[in-house]
Amino acid sequence: MKSNKKQSVKIPAFEAVGVVCAQSIGEPGTQMTMRTFHFAGVAEHVPTGLPRLIEIVDAKKEPKKSIIDIYLKSSYARSRPEAEKIAKELASIFVSDVADVEDDLETLTIKVTFNEKDGKGQGVTFAMVKKAIESFTGEIKTDGNSITIKPAKEVKTPKKSDKEKKEKKMTAKAVRKLSQKIKDALVRGVRGIYKAVVIKGNEEYFIRAGGFNVLGACENSAVDSKRIYTNNIKEIERIYGIEAARNAIVREIKEVMDMQKLFVDIRHIMLIADAMTYAGSLKSIGRHGLSGEKVGVLGRAAFEETIKHLINASAFSEEEKLIGVTENIIVGQTVPVGTGKIKLVMKAKNRVQK
């Protein structure tokens, strides 16, 4: 059979790559599962599939479940026990995890009873608990495995506004509040990192934990701060900057797609990541992000919050320059993408006269 022509693999000029990208990421969404994923022991229901994709695209401040991958410096990464040790150092344990905290509102005291069995499992001693509690002001009495605190009087509600209540009297309400604070006091580990599990990677052991406190984890000298990773894109942007956030978006979307065996060309994923980050800050896809900041009034009005956009446009006498796709569709003109960007002119002088 005879052969035809070879095709150019270059992207054609004026191709509407944005729409193709949106379709290429949106269309497989219909085929994705809604299931959450189980990272052996770490955060239970890490969203994958469609919910996770929506989360990434929304650029949420705090994703439902953050995961942090903590890689260790080579001297710690080789053996499991070494890594386990670091994992224990990192995972946060609160007073309430290893002790019962009870407040007695009659005597205005708080009693903390250390639970030895729980403590042993976590490698926590009574002294550690005591140390954690000592940071609170007040009279502290130790009795066997329990500590009784009589809060000092100057404990005050932090709000300035209720000045009258700031009398030097300890209220039951304040004691309740304090007991809550004691429950949340950190006995060991890094706040915001929990349930650390050691995982064997390609050639080394690393720690996977819930949470996203990158800076906190990096304070541990065993942690290789150059390779630490979290799936919390907003946090990556805050700490490492927008370029890192872009790469994280690419990585996260790709992971979602790969997990479901849905293949999407990396170019599409890169484009969406670039669109979300090119302005210098992380922007979501939707009315609070990219779509809400589009230049065209009509385009914004046609998407969501129609009235709001029209009203603001007229109050501040905005101009609609009709440069976007929707805007031109609304007024019934050719859309400025693809062949709509090209004009063809024919010279008529050679026309056959009859």
Binding site: N4, K10, C21, T30, G41, V42, P51, I330
Partner: protein, 883 residues
């Protein structure tokens, strides 16, 4: 020469949004509306009423008093209502509030203006600090605030300015004084929706209006307004524009009764209260009564703009249905914007049920005759096609012209008597246009909703066929995601040569064989085509001369090559090879585990299955030989495959899913073993000797282990099924070569359905601690937790049937939720990215020309060819870098 109409193409360059001043409202008003009524007793519009004929007309026969036009000609004219007392426009209440908050009650200067810049910064810092107690966070949020602000659009920025000034002012403590005149500043509060309080006193709209009117232009600019186009006092209405009647047409019911539009009803209310208020004022009624009426007028004007305003009851129709007022008309999916402006209705389209036709080409669409008779294409009459056009006009039956559009743009219907058509044909001149019925070979855009990707709308060649359905080649169902269980599709006929050319060169089916999503073939042999090709090319397939010639004839080869197998027979491999271009080389391991080798266009080894037909073979062919060639290959291989499968035969019967006694026993053995293992685990769990898996509770560990055992049981049963049913079983063959179905289907039909799950866990719902009331609470064994021992062949027990229903329901609910969620996500994605275009310098830019990527995808390659990108020209990385 011909009097070709030189149409001046008008292009809208820009639009400007602004506010109407009351003067403007009155100026453009055709009449003042004073009567709160519509028609008089004779059914004639009342002068000065809401359907005054000066506002335009909706009844045929009447003429507009302003422009003299009839229903069709008159564009409609605005009227107005003079409000006796000013009324706050709901939608602008927030703007008014911020302006009042930001200006001095006495000198009407902007409060922040006199502050030196440094002071403003100090105040802003202070505000930020107060909001966020932690100093580090505060500086962070401030940074991001300033960066995000830089990219905000005009209006939001302006709104923020106003807001910021107001906010900052509110944060200052004690009695604040105006920086300009030193007067004490009152506390301003907004009580939604429209009431503003000054200290503890309610401000009357006319006070508000006076305040706003006193702000000078310079101060307004500071606040972000352009006083030429919008002054804040215009946000307090003194004249209410009344939309033309054709915006709110009344409908006549069959009974002859008139039913007015919701807007008209609302306007009636406004006028009525307005008049009552006027009468009371003139009669010198007590202030209390006047204020009550004023408030009522405010309510009616508010609901006239938006009947879903928070905190006020919606105005209702007599029937109790809430009225649809202005905001409701614009808003949402069924609103003016999304329903009418973004989505436009079209002519020259058809919709009907689809059905398969493997004998038409894949780029064709079978169009029923009755549709072909209805749809037309414009045909410009030139000296070269004059004769043809004349024949089309004179034609008495199907391919005929329906309209003639003469040079003077008059549209004439082609007559239905031979005499008339003859005359019309004779009068036909070069330069006119005729509209002729579509014929074979015209292109149409074929579409199936939901249009999730660009392959949901492709150009097909029309082929007029008898019947009432659209026919399409079954290989094209995958891009459309269609099936033939009653699906309907749409066909659009392109009306300009430009559109037709674009369709042919860009949207044609064969150009879309590869998906731009991943670069792999999306139109590829499926189901019976794959089976057919497998039977065609398997080692023992030999065909007689008659069979071979019928196959080759189908693909347009009329000369029979010499036979290559003894006995004058032809091997299927050699017949298949005739489809391949000479430079085809392929080496893949098939799904059956054997090697498939194609060398220089000859199939040397192996039987072709889905892996060979869909992947590399098609993609390379597409890049190296072009879309058309690839299309022909698919069409021809389909034809041969179908012929081969007809010769070979492929069917299934109930017997194919019946396990032998031995097989059934083996399956029984597997489930028995599974039960034992599970019982064992449960025992360990109960006496606490089960070891807890890291990060899981004991019961979670147990569940995880049981799930593992049950899925292993199914796998084991799979092996039994595979060996028991054997390799000659059609179902197994189809599953293995990737034509249709999977081994799982065969297992569930013949061996056992296995574990049912909800949320990837064994079933546990329905009753307290148990699945069904007949079980003990806390039951953990397989049969009590959703394991189905029966096969579909044997039939299920009632329990098992219930389990399947539970698992099935989850699947149904999930798909329903998923489609809704992913649909919205896609809408947002499209909306956010639709303006991104690759320019000829390979940069990806937004509508405002800001660069998003410097080189598309980092290499400028089309993702459509990404899987095969090493072939072809112009795609090398170096080529792009120099560009």
């Amino acid at each position: 020469m011909m009097t070709q109409m030189l149409e001046v193409q008008k292009v809208l360059d820009k639009l400007k949004f602004s506010l109407f001043s009351p003067e403007m409202v009155r100026k453009m008003s055709a009449t003042k509306i004073v009567v709160p009524d519509t028609y008089d007793d004779d059914g004639y519009p009342i002068d000065g009423g809401l359907v005054d004929t000066r506002l335009g007309v909706v009844d045929p026969g009447l003429r507009c008093k302003t422009c003299g036009g009839t229903v069709k000609e008159c564009p409609g004219h605005f009227g107005h209502i003079d409000l006796v007392r000013p009324i706050v426009h709901v939608e602008f209440a927030k703007h008014i509030f911020y302006v009042i908050k930001s200006t001095c009650p006495s000198c009407h200067k902007v409060l922040a203006k006199k502050l030196p810049v440094a002071d403003i910064e100090k105040v802003v810092d202070k505000v930020a600090e107060e909001e966020k107690p932690e100093p580090t966070v505060a500086s962070d949020s401030q940074d991001s605030q300033t960066t995000s602000e830089a990219s905000k659009t005009e209006s939001t920025e302006a709104a923020q300015n106003v807001e910021k000034v107001a906010k900052k002012k509110a944060k200052e403590k004690g009695v604040r004084k105006c920086n300009n005149c030193g007067v004490d500043l009152p506390e301003i509060k907004l009580l939604k929706p429209t009431t503003i309080f000054k200290d503890k006193d309610m401000m009357l709209p006319n006070d508000i209006r006076d305040w706003l009117a006193a702000i000078n232009d310079g101060d307004l600019r500071t606040l972000g307004f352009d006083p030429l186009y919008s002054r804040p006092e215009w946000m307090v209405l003194t004249a209410l524009p009344v939309p033309p009647v054709n915006v709110r047409p009344s409908i006549t019911l069959e009974t002859g009764e008139r039913s007015e539009d919701d807007l008209t009803h609302k306007l009636v209310d406004v006028i009525r209260i307005n008049q009552k208020l006027e009468a009371n004022i003139n009669a010198g009624a007590p202030q209390l009564i006047i204020e009550d009426l004023w408030e009522l007028l405010q309510y009616h004007v508010t609901t006239y703009f938006d009947n879903e305003t928070a905190n006020i009851p919606p105005a209702r129709h007599r029937s109790g249905r809430p009225l649809k007022t202005l905001a409701q008309r614009l808003k949402g999916k069924e609103g003016r914007f999304r329903y009418n402006l973004s989505g436009k209705r079209v002519n020259f389209s058809a919709r009907t049920v689809i059905s398969p036709d493997p004998r038409i080409d894949l780029d064709e669409v079978g169009v029923p005759e009755f549709i072909a008779e209805e749809l037309t294409v414009p045909m410009h009459v030139t000296e070269w096609n004059l004769e043809r056009c004349k024949n089309l006009i004179m034609s008495p039956a199907y391919p005929r012209a329906i309209y003639i559009i003469r040079n003077d743009t008059r549209r004439i219907k082609v007559g239905d008597t031979p005499e008339m058509t003859k005359e019309q044909a004779e009068n036909l001149k070069v330069g006119s246009t005729i509209e002729r019925q579509i014929i074979d070979g015209d292109v149409g855009l074929f579409n199936r909703q939901p249009s999730l990707h660009r392959m949901s709308m492709m150009a097909h060649r029309i082929r007029v066929l008898p019947g009432k359905t659209f026919r399409l080649n079954p290989v094209t169902v995958s891009p459309y995601n269609a099936d033939f269980d009653g699906d309907e599709m749409n066909l659009h006929i392109l009306q300009t040569e430009e559109a037709q050319a674009e369709a042919k060169h860009l949207a044609k089916v064969e150009k879309q064989l590869l998906s731009p999503r991943h670069g792999h073939a999306i139109i590829k042999p499926q189901e019976d085509h794959v089976s057919g090709l497998y039977f065609l090319t398997s080692d023992e397939s030999h065909f007689t001369k008659a069979e071979a010639s019928s196959m080759l004839y189908l693909i347009g080869i009329t000369e029979l090559p010499s036979s290559d197998v003894k006995g004058g027979k032809y091997s299927g491999k050699s017949l298949f090879s005739m489809l391949l271009p000479e430079d085809t080389n392929l080496k893949v391991t098939s799904k059956l585990g054997e090697e498939i080798i194609i060398k220089n266009g000859k199939l040397v080894k192996g039987a072709v299955e889905s892996k060979a037909t869909e992947g590399e073979l098609l993609e390379k062919m597409f890049v190296n030989h072009g879309p058309e060639f690839t299309k022909n290959f698919i069409d021809n291989s389909t034809r041969m495959a179908l012929e081969a499968i007809s010769i070979h035969g492929l069917s299934v019967s109930l017997k194919d899913y019946t396990l032998s006694t031995k097989g059934s026993e083996k399956v029984k053995g597997i489930t028995d073993k599974m039960n034992r293992e599970i019982d064992n685990l449960i025992m360990q769990y109960k006496n606490r000797s089960l070891e807890r898996a890291p990060g899981m509770s004991l019961s979670e560990t147990l569940e995880g282990m049981i799930m593992e055992i049950t899925s292993r049981a199914r796998e084991d049963a799979g092996k039994v099924v595979e060996s028991d049913l054997g390799n000659t079983n059609s179902s197994i063959i189809m599953a293995k070569i990737g034509a249709r179905g999977s081994l799982l289907n065969a297992i569930q039909m013949s061996a056992l359905v296995a574990q049912q799950t909800v949320r990837s866990k064994r079933l546990l719902r329905g009753y307290k601690g148990r699945l069904l009331p007949y079980f003990k609470a806390g039951a953990l064994t397989a049969p009590q937790r959703g394991f189905v021992y029966s096969s579909f062949h044997d039939g299920m027990t009632p329990y098992e049937y219930m389990y399947c229903a539970m698992g099935g329901r989850e699947a149904l609910v999930n798909t329903a939720i998923r489609t809704a969620r992913s649909g919205y996500m896609q809408r947002r994605l499209i909306n956010a990215l639709q303006d991104l275009v690759v320019y000829d310098d390979m940069t990806v830019r937004n509508a405002d020309m800001s660069v998003v990527q410097f080189i598309y995808g980092g290499d400028g390659k089309d993702p459509m060819y990404s899987s095969t990108a090493e072939v072809g020209d112009g795609g090398k990385q170096d080529d792009i870098d120099t560009a």
